[in-house]
């Protein structure tokens, strides 16, 4: 059964999310979710239902995320998952888009006086098991002929707690995660993130392989947000743009020209709904992880291509 159809039938999207990564997906004490990955699911919901709230978030640890997707328990895995070849080919997954270009980095205690990952000879490193991080770590130290000791934990929580309590000298995960986790340290300012990025970590939503329509919806939801940012459409000015703009790009995005939405299996104003109800990519980024958030992550690689970054939305036409 096509995923989109079943979603419409169910009336909600089952969204596999991180059980707690600040800025990407984290519930508060009342169970309200916030974050970049979470908002992506909201964007999907907006496109499909014209309501950003028809999402059920299902917290998944690194360990059970793929099986949850495979078994159909979630419709989409929007949980800072690295797109790698083996995952794409052997796990039966598809990665329609990359919503965050990341790379693995290290965090250490300031007082160690370490300024480069190359100085980590003989260090203990805490990492989360079952991640690409774990593999990259092994590669990096091997390539640089450094000795190290790995301490792996089942959940991100435990991993960071172990680092924070001094079990390890260094903590490694995707750079975005480093910033997010640092907020939870007992003394955030005592930790620094090392400059080295040791891997490419293209993070994005994943869906089951073999459902091209659903793949497209997910892919173009992301691109719509990128195109909106590029075209200057924001949550605030979307209504106004809808009425006043003559720019054909804008009109195509907002659905007043062409029938691109219908071709996706959605309504014509699908992208308008996303922007109106959730926002464009830049807005979502800044709100959740950028300057509007405690994480204060720079756009960097995630800036639009036109601003020197890698985020490049193929044209809607």
């Amino acid at each position: 059964q096509a995923t989109l159809t079943s979603i419409k039938q169910k009336g909600y999207i089952a969204c596999g999310s991180n059980p707690g990564l600040a800025g990407f997906g984290v519930p508060d004490a009342q169970g309200r979710w916030a974050g970049l990955d979470v908002d992506f699911c909201r964007a999907l919901s907006a496109a499909i239902f014209n309501d950003a709230g028809k999402v059920r978030f299902i917290p998944l640890s690194a360990k059970d995320r793929f099986t949850a997707l495979q078994s159909g328990e979630v419709d989409i895995l929007s949980r800072n998952t690295t797109w790698s070849m083996s995952r794409d080919t052997t796990l039966g997954l598809d990665f329609p888009a990359i919503n965050f270009y990341d790379g693995q980095g290290f965090m250490v205690k300031k007082k160690l006086g370490v300024t480069s990952a190359k100085q980590l000879e003989g260090a203990s490193v805490c990492t989360q098991q079952g991640t690409t991080t774990e593999l990259n770590l092994a590669d990096y130290f091997r390539a640089n002929k450094l000795k190290y000791e790995v301490v792996a934990f089942a959940s991100a929580d435990e991993t960071f707690k172990a680092y924070d309590s001094g079990r390890c000298d260094a903590f490694t995960t995707d750079a975005s995660g480093l910033y997010a986790e640092r907020l939870r340290a007992s003394a955030p300012d005592d930790n620094i993130v090392l400059p080295e990025i040791i891997s490419k970590e293209p993070l994005g939503p994943a869906v089951r392989q073999g459902d091209a329509q659903w793949s497209d919806v997910v892919r173009w939801t992301h691109y719509a947000m990128l195109n909106a940012e590029e075209a200057g459409i924001t949550q605030g000015n979307a209504d106004q743009m809808l009425k006043t703009s003559d720019n054909p790009d804008v009109k195509r995005i907002l659905g007043t020209e062409g029938k691109y939405g219908a071709d996706l299996g959605l309504t014509g104003d699908w992208a308008y709904r996303i922007i109106k109800l959730v926002g464009n990519y830049g807005e979502v980024f800044e709100k959740n992880v950028g300057q509007g958030s405690p994480l204060k992550i720079q756009r960097g690689l995630n800036a639009l291509w036109s601003k020197g970054g890698l985020q490049y939305g193929p044209p809607i036409r």
Binding site: P19, A29, G31, S71, G72, D157, K161, D164, P188
Partner: protein, 385 residues
């Protein structure tokens, strides 16, 4: 007679009874008690000193931590930081007080928290009814506990919009609520299932017996945590693609099957203790096999194994803490996740969280084990009731 002056002649009759004398100080009284119980030999005295040393080493710091230096109120971590308050800080109970709602209900919506409260009350009623041996109509109690209460709880907790109760997805449940739900489901499901398995294992039908033996030995042979992983990861895989099972229900299934296997062995012990004559007596009265079981054998067998059942419930209750490993927000998990809250980052917060959790489990488990002991004694003394 050559007997000595004080010794007894061959023929002797006592004329004056010797009255009972009070014991010398070394035989009874506090001094004697001390001597007999603490200093009966040099080795024993040494042991006493060692034990006393342990007590002195452990008890005062423990007391100091838990009570004397403890912080009882405060709004955030400053209340529990020694450099802020200016004296050593023990347990940070203020932290527990601040988070207590989270520990009890998890993320259950605040405006709906009366529902868990009603659930707790219903549960207390059912447990009390069942455990109070002289309670009236305990058969009704059992029906209530094993049928009415689970249904009511389900309706209450997860909500039925038709009845005006908003749906509360299980992902919001947490804390003690989840711990209690998981263990109750464990016991409610495992008892009937365990009885069936126990009967099956004693069946004359070889295939039935074989299945039951394999089932029981399988679950008893693997660690619970692998069962939980399996339930979590593989259960959805074994179901048709479009059926999805709630994330809380999955470990519940695992726990229920797991504890059913243990329960089966407990019940089997009870069945074995019933003499054959009971079945024969029932048979000779013309009772059908089903009636025989239900009216004669099971009531007796279950009564005998109440302590065993309570004990396996204790294990079950403790084991529910493992669901936190597969990502269910049970009580332990809420403690774990609360303790990293930067707002409460203070040196003793971690210990306080664990101490609180330990206290919670201890009170429940110790209470139940005392209860089991009480029932056991009463059964032992009460062959005559």
């Amino acid at each position: 007679m050559t007997a000595g002056p004080q010794t007894l002649p061959l023929s002797f009759v006592r004329r004056d009874a010797v009255p009972p004398a009070p014991a010398p100080a070394l035989v009874s009284g506090p001094l004697a008690w001390l001597r007999a119980n603490l200093f009966s030999s040099p080795g024993n005295a040494a042991l006493t000193l060692i034990a006393l040393a342990i007590v002195v080493l452990v008890a005062p710091p423990l007391l100091r931590f838990l009570v004397v230096d403890a912080v009882w109120s405060g709004q955030n971590r400053d209340a529990c930081r020694p450099e802020v308050v200016g004296h050593p800080v023990g347990a940070c109970w203020a932290f527990v007080a601040d988070k207590i709602n989270y520990f009890v209900y998890g993320s259950y919506p605040i405006e709906e928290r009366w529902r868990p409260n009603v659930f707790f009350a219903l549960m207390a009623l059912g447990v009390g009814w069942l455990l109070w041996l002289d309670a009236p109509r305990r058969d009704l109690g059992a029906a209530y506990f094993f049928v009415a209460f689970p249904v009511a709880s389900f309706v209450l907790l997860s909500g039925v919009p038709a009845l005006g109760l908003a749906k509360v997805p299980t992902s919001l449940w947490g804390g003690m609520l989840v711990t209690l739900v998981v263990s109750l489901v464990g016991i409610v499901a495992s008892l009937p299932l365990g009885i069936l398995l126990a009967l099956g294992r004693r069946s004359r039908l070889p295939i039935v017996r074989l299945f039951c033996v394999i089932f029981i030995e399988f679950w008893r042979g693997v660690p619970l945590i692998t069962v939980l992983f399996m339930a979590n990861v593989m259960l959805p895989l074994f179901l048709p693609g479009d059926v999805s099972v709630d994330r809380l229900v999955r470990p519940l299934v695992g726990i229920a099957l797991f504890s059913a296997a243990y329960m089966a062995e407990v019940v089997r012990g009870g069945l074995q203790a019933i003499p054959r004559g009971q079945a024969e007596g029932a048979m000779s009265l013309g009772l059908s096999p089903w009636h025989r079981m239900r009216l004669v054998i099971l009531p007796q067998a279950l009564r005998i194994v109440i302590p065993g059942i309570v004990n396996s419930f204790i294990s079950l209750f403790k084991d529910t803490s493992l669901v936190s490993i597969v990502g269910i927000f049970d009580f332990i998990r809420t403690i774990e996740s609360a303790r990293v809250d930067p707002a409460w980052a203070a040196p003793t917060v971690v210990m306080t969280g664990y101490a609180f959790a330990a206290l919670f489990y201890f009170v429940f488990c110790f209470g139940m084990s005392r209860y089991a002991l009480f029932v056991e004694r009463r059964l032992a003394s009460g062959q005559k009731r």
